[in-house]
Symmetry: C2
Subunit: 211 residues, 2 copies
């Protein structure tokens, strides 16, 4: 049950560096991320899987020295498109036509032409912000996927994104890091958060009915 | 299984307006949204549940006339905080102390003081954008929760947010609409998308390993 999975997970503060995630569990997380819905199906992001210890040490150094970045089994970096471009949107249309058949083109192409007319004149920054929001949908779903697999994870925004872009060469590929997700297994001790009660705003403070 | 739920769901284009969501299913979706992790646990958003037909007709009129807004059983409006304020962050600290006990204050307060020193000098717009991203995590998890309940849903960004703010009186409450989520049950016919193959970027185009 989703509710149990959400209650089980927490922002892991201390991973056991000796435990490696089995390939099938990593793949389950990545496949959930792949299935996340995004605006107009653009999926305007990539996920970079970082195992290389030297790269991870560099990222930790620009990530408030958070040890999970190097001690977790794998580090996932969610990187959103820096902008929408004609080529990127055309590639999405091509994917749809490839997967649904040539007959889909007639219905689909005018929609994405209107989308290009709307997105391409906007600033790169505005488009990147929009792309980043889509990455956050996938990020949330990736967190659920990890919990379903009983894999620990730490959602992270606290890092110098420009520096991570540099370390991973993301800008040259039209990407900008938006979140980090170390995944692996919690240590049996040394995690100050593990034993604390999960705090959430009561439902009547979070949800309101319109009159 | 999450993967089956993600395969089952789709952006429903035609709801059956005669079918109402049972209270327990709505509550399961709202409770999953409540459990979504957010940056520093701020949960900087609210969800407005709209059933009133007149309000929904007004929202549909500023939402590209998408019929799901009025034909679904319930309309959820995700509205992010317009800004971070001292009072809002202090209320989060109070919630933590209330739920974890007075002993938690010593560890928690300095963290949130640093957060205030970082967030409060920033522009309202920058803070709202950050809050909106947190709402997207909950939005993604809400979509999973709906699918788990076999409830249909349509994630929507295509609407005039300023107008929705006006219709629901959100600005006066320090909120700005960021996404809509009509939830209910698909119609048995009239949904052009229901029969089409779900298209996602192949995994090797979405996921890359850092060298």
């Amino acid at each position: 049950m989703l509710q149990d999975q959400l209650a089980w997970r927490y922002a892991t503060k201390k991973f056991d560096p000796s435990k490696t995630l089995p390939e099938d569990k990593l793949e389950a997380i990545l496949k959930a991320i792949q299935m996340a819905p995004t605006s107009s199906g653009l999926q305007p992001f990539e996920v970079i899987v970082v195992t290389n210890p030297a790269l991870r040490a560099q990222i930790q150094a620009v990530g408030y020295d958070q040890a999970q970045i190097t001690e977790a089994s794998h580090l996932l970096v969610f990187a959103a498109w820096d902008n929408y471009t004609e080529a990127r949107i055309d590639a999405v249309v091509q994917d749809i036509v490839d997967q649904r058949g040539e007959g889909a083109a007639e219905a689909v192409k005018p929609y994405y032409e209107r989308l290009k007319a709307m997105y391409l004149p906007r600033s790169a920054e505005e488009n990147h912000q929009h792309a980043a929001r889509q990455a956050y949908i996938a990020f949330g779903i990736g967190l659920v996927a990890a919990a379903e697999q009983k894999v620990d994870a730490t959602p992270m925004e606290g890092f110098d994104a420009d520096k991570v872009d540099e370390i991973l060469g993301l800008r040259a590929r039209g990407l900008r890091a938006v979140t980090l997700l170390p995944v692996g297994y919690r240590a049996t001790e040394g995690d100050w958060l593990a034993g604390l009660k999960k705090v959430r705003r009561p439902l009547d403070g979070l949800i309101h009915e319109a009159a």
